[in-house]
Symmetry: C2
């Protein structure tokens, strides 16, 4: 009996609003998401929205948490079904690319919010850092499993790999969203193969 099954009507409404809010934030920026812009986009009354979210800042934090849960459901939980080690790392990367391309119309909420909030101390930035740290830790743990499974060399540094993994994802987001590069996903996968090749126990020459 999961939490989702036991969701009350009020909770379901709140989740539906948060999904629309995340979509809006991906387009106008998380900073542009206010009770007012959300009311205009959803045709709900501002007073109705205030019943769910105490303030603009609370709304922005809640949207980040909502997006984080979606990410966990749609990317992490799916990747965990793949065998430990390299196959799981690949599933994580592929799922993540798909998430960046398809989860929200305006691209990845986290990537956009990072540029927006990196200079703005406060609860939104704090929540964003927590989310990024969690995702980074997931990658690190999966890389470590690739070492223990004997897929990657023992001297591979999981934190370094997680850093480079992040870079490949950011490059895909940039190439797709700003440059409209139709080869963005293909380039990301080639970058991933090079990275994995350089970590394998018997490294092949990367292409």
């Amino acid at each position: 009996m999961t939490a989702a099954v036991r969701m009350t009507k009020g909770e379901q409404t709140r989740e539906a609003i948060l999904e629309e809010a995340a979509e809006l934030a991906s387009l106008v920026g998380l900073g542009g998401l206010t009770i007012g812009t959300l009311a205009a986009a959803t045709k709900l009354s501002k007073s109705g929205l205030y019943a769910h979210f105490a303030s603009k800042e609370a709304l922005q934090v809640d949207v980040l948490q909502h997006a984080r849960e979606s990410f966990t459901d749609r990317v992490v939980r799916v990747a965990i079904k793949a065998p430990r080690g390299e196959p799981r790392l690949r599933a994580l990367f592929e799922g993540w690319l798909a998430w960046q391309s398809g989860a929200y119309a305006g691209g990845c909420l986290f990537v956009n919010a990072a540029s927006e909030f990196d200079d703005q101390p406060g609860p939104v930035r704090d929540e964003l850092v927590r989310a990024e740290r969690d995702k980074n830790e997931t990658v690190t743990v999966v890389v470590r499993s690739a070492v223990t499974e004997g897929h990657f060399r023992p001297d591979v540094d999981p934190e370094q790999l997680a850093y480079e993994f992040e870079g490949m994802l950011l490059a895909q987001h940039h190439a797709r969203r700003l440059m409209n590069d139709p080869r963005a996903d293909e380039r990301a996968m080639r970058a991933f193969e090079r990275l994995v090749d350089s970590c394998r126990v018997a490294p092949r020459v990367a292409g």
Copy 2:
């Protein structure tokens, strides 16, 4: 006799304003840069600023062009002094990292603007795409020179390398600005070494 030497008083004032505007945009976002916010930050009158910039959009485009010229002076021209091929690519990467960390208080104007404007068609987005294309082409040309100099294998794909180069820079920006990671530069350099190693004529095993 360069253009800079022949700059009139009016042009010098304009350049000084643009430098302050770029600094402000790095902090509040390029979209938050308006004649009004610039007037407040510089203590100049709005009417005085309108003499230099016809509109908010014109100001935003001019700031991007100004930042692009600074980037060319401070990163590209310096890198070109290094020997062709791998040394020049390294100089470009190191200069670029330093630019992202130091050019403006709020981080790289281009990285921030990319998330902000990727969904907003118009002259600002167009100028940003031109700037990004130019920078990407610079990397591609330098990678190609590393192939012709015999530093990199002939089957290295310069466009793929430029894509991965971009990813490492985006990861450093993310790690420094949002995550306050003190090892961001070190991780970026290790990623660069791995990339270069995988391209060398006699590849070593990457660390």
